[in-house]
Symmetry: C2
Subunit: 410 residues, 2 copies
């Protein structure tokens, strides 16, 4: 990767850069001096700007040679390259469930995409009390289409192997996931932190439970060894922007080939975090509904694509056995995704409470004691799930376990 | 891959080419005019020559732009590239269980390796009645070292992902395996052939058994979706050269990341073919012994590498859980390899009897009726295994099933 001409763009640099891209300049309209550049970075990693002209707006994302919020943590620039590659791969499969890909510059590591206006980051919307029943099933559709369409079920193996080759190079971000999600929380590490002492005994329990550690080990192995489909890789509620009517998945820089249940589990895990961060019973009911409708939609769409017999998918893994036997294969495949979903959800919850990168969900609770109780409830739930993973193979099991917390209230 | 200067080398071209490689010229000794070039190609794919000088000998392998035995079947030249990459990767892990890597030329697609003298291709040796009890355990050691050492158990995930990227490009040969091993035999295809009518009803049974087809489908999915380790990819008894004392694995051009049980199963499947091709009861007993000692040695060596606690392997998949819990993970891993071994052995047997590429084993039987009965026995055994895969999870089960054939004799 040629970094000779890389420089971090400021507002002036951004105007100059976009002025050199005729299609985007036309989209913005007017002259560069009129373009408003507005920084919206709120994540850990990259600079993100909205650029507004008289005729339109675009979103520009640039990688930095370090973590945005910690310049001492060096990092290669190529993450926008992988985000661009991900968007190019899944855009045609998911249509309006992501942003339109406009441009990628391989020297500046700048990605330009459609700007979303009126959309709110889903985590923020949930914290503000939005109740949008259509969002979760749309994410189910998104995962089904993106994962089915990049898998051996839909593509000749040569295409899948080529795509795996591309994303197997996304190692800096895969390493982050490995360390922050699968490793740090299960041992002493300076990146871990939690404020509430109520969490400490549960952390101790997790770290000394053979069943929980075996589950984590197994999930970590599956994360690295089951390249079923091109994953988003970081599908939490901060990677989704939505209105009540329109939902987009953004920020695919962590993309990798992996187990489909990893994307499902990360989304479900973040819904569960919201569940525990909202003591309101109606809001908790809405989360239970959302998890169920997410899974239902994912399952239904995935099966519909698989069974599109009028135009059978040209994948290398088309079935040899038809009729009832084909159903056995499909059932086993979906059961495996479901088990993965539950396991990955649990470890996502854990790392968001005791690892490096927490989420803001619990900040809406102002009473510190209530907040600590809610966090402990979430951690205890995730621990219970990991510890009983063998008995909890269906989303229904998972929801009924979560529902017990709902009925108990706090 | 630059093919501009590619040309197929004849004896003169080989002398000229090797004369340009000082280390090899020295190894051969004398002057190029003295070097004897002797073609030994006996496989389907490449030109192979032994070059003998006054001081030493080397083996030279060159890819052709087509299948050697069928010039109308076009094929990319890069297979010696992948064989060279495989040899470079596993050579340091397996030591004297393969040939020494001497040179690779990326324009001529020529690989030069140590020449083996006094060694016989194992399949030929078995057909000639050799009984070398040490060969099978050496192959067990070979698979254990090569697979453990290229897996996430032994290497940081970055190294494994880089290696996967290299071998995921070995698509022409992976496509051949997919078509010839996992696909053709289970449907009508002009590449299939068998002479003995006694096989036809068994072929019909296989193709209409839902259980067998599901098993094949599952194994095909695992072949493409379980990149556990760098496999040889074609580990039949024709890819092994041996004496009683020294055993070498050659011909790694099919190398890919895949399930470890694929290498194990291909070796075991070819031993089973020999079993059925030798009506002699003592020779059959020797095969049962070899399969058991292969597995025992593989298992023991793999576990020893995994549990080398004095120098724990620096793999990303080091255990989180120690003590008895670690044992659970290892047991589950090895059980999965064992189940794969049995399944892949069965499909290897089937494709060698009814697919494109048969083996010579049965040619030692001169009576055509006996030969047909023996082949039918092998095919029926493989069918039985595939049809009962769920109940046949251990090598002991597999051997006792095979042993019933032994006691029955023909
Ligand atoms: N297409 C867009 N239109 C409008 N706003 C956007 C768009 N893409 C991103 N944003 C805003 O910019 C923020 C940061 O974007 P993004 O999550 O892609 O950056 P990041 O640096 O990769 O974050 P993270 O650390 O979570 O990985 C988003 O939370 C959102 O508020
Ligand atoms: N290092 C060696 N020393 C001596 N003889 C060798 C050596 N390597 C290969 N041979 C001989 O050459 C033959 C062909 O080699 P090899 O199997 O590598 O070729 P191939 O064209 O890839 O065959 P296949 O069609 O089975 O893939 C072997 O069966 C063996 O007889
Ligand atoms: Mg991001
Ligand atoms: Mg070969």
């Amino acid at each position: 990767m040629d970094q000779t001409s890389y420089r971090t763009l400021d507002a002036g640099g951004i105007r100059e850069f976009l002025a050199g891209l005729p299609a985007i300049a036309t989209r913005l309209g007017g002259v560069p001096e009129q373009w408003q550049v507005h920084e919206v970075s709120d994540g850990n990693l990259n600079n993100v700007f909205l650029v507004t002209g008289p005729a339109g707006e675009v979103c520009l994302k640039q990688s930095l040679p370090h973590v945005r919020v910690d310049p001492s943590w060096k990092m290669p620039l190529d993450r926008t390259y992988f985000e661009a590659a991900w968007l190019a791969a899944i855009g045609p499969l998911v249509g309006e469930l992501t942003t339109e890909y406009l441009h990628f510059d391989p020297e500046l590591y700048v990605l330009v995409v459609e700007s979303l206006s009126g959309h709110t980051v889903l985590r923020t919307a949930l914290m503000q009390g939005a109740d949008w029943p259509e969002v979760a099933p749309r994410i189910g559709t998104f995962v089904a289409r993106a994962c089915f369409g990049t898998s051996l079920l839909a593509r000749p193996f040569e295409d899948v192997f080529d795509a795996r080759r591309i994303f197997a190079a996304n190692q800096a971000l895969t390493r982050i996931t490995l360390d922050l999600v699968f490793d740090d929380p299960y041992r002493d590490h300076p990146r871990n932190h939690w404020h509430d002492p109520a969490l400490s005994p549960i952390v101790q329990d997790i770290r000394t439970s053979a069943a929980a550690l075996l589950a984590v080990e197994n999930l970590r192995r599956r994360f690295l060894s089951q390249p079923q489909a091109l994953l988003h890789g970081d599908l939490h509620t901060g990677s989704i922007m939505s209105t009540a009517d329109d939902t987009r998945v953004i920020d695919g820089e962590f993309a990798l080939y992996g187990p489909i249940g990893f994307d499902c589990g990360m989304f479900v895990g973040n819904l569960v975090l919201h569940f525990f961060a909202t003591p309101d019973l109606a809001a908790r009911q809405a989360v239970l509904r959302d998890i169920a409708s997410f899974w239902h939609s994912f399952h239904e769409q995935f099966m519909a694509l698989w069974n599109a017999n009028d135009a059978p998918p040209p994948g290398t893994l088309r079935p040899l056995a038809y009729g009832p036997a084909a159903h056995v294969v499909q059932q086993a495949f979906m059961d495996e995704v479901m088990a993965d979903t539950i396991g990955f959800a649990a470890i996502e919850i854990i790392r968001r409470l005791i690892g490096y990168a927490h989420t803001a969900d619990f900040d809406t609770i102002t009473d510190p004691r209530l907040r600590a109780t809610c966090r402990a409830g979430a951690l205890a739930f995730a621990y219970y799930v990991l510890d009983h993973l063998a008995d909890m193979r269906t989303i229904a099991d998972f929801l009924s376990c979560l529902g017990e917390n709902e009925r108990k209230g706090i």
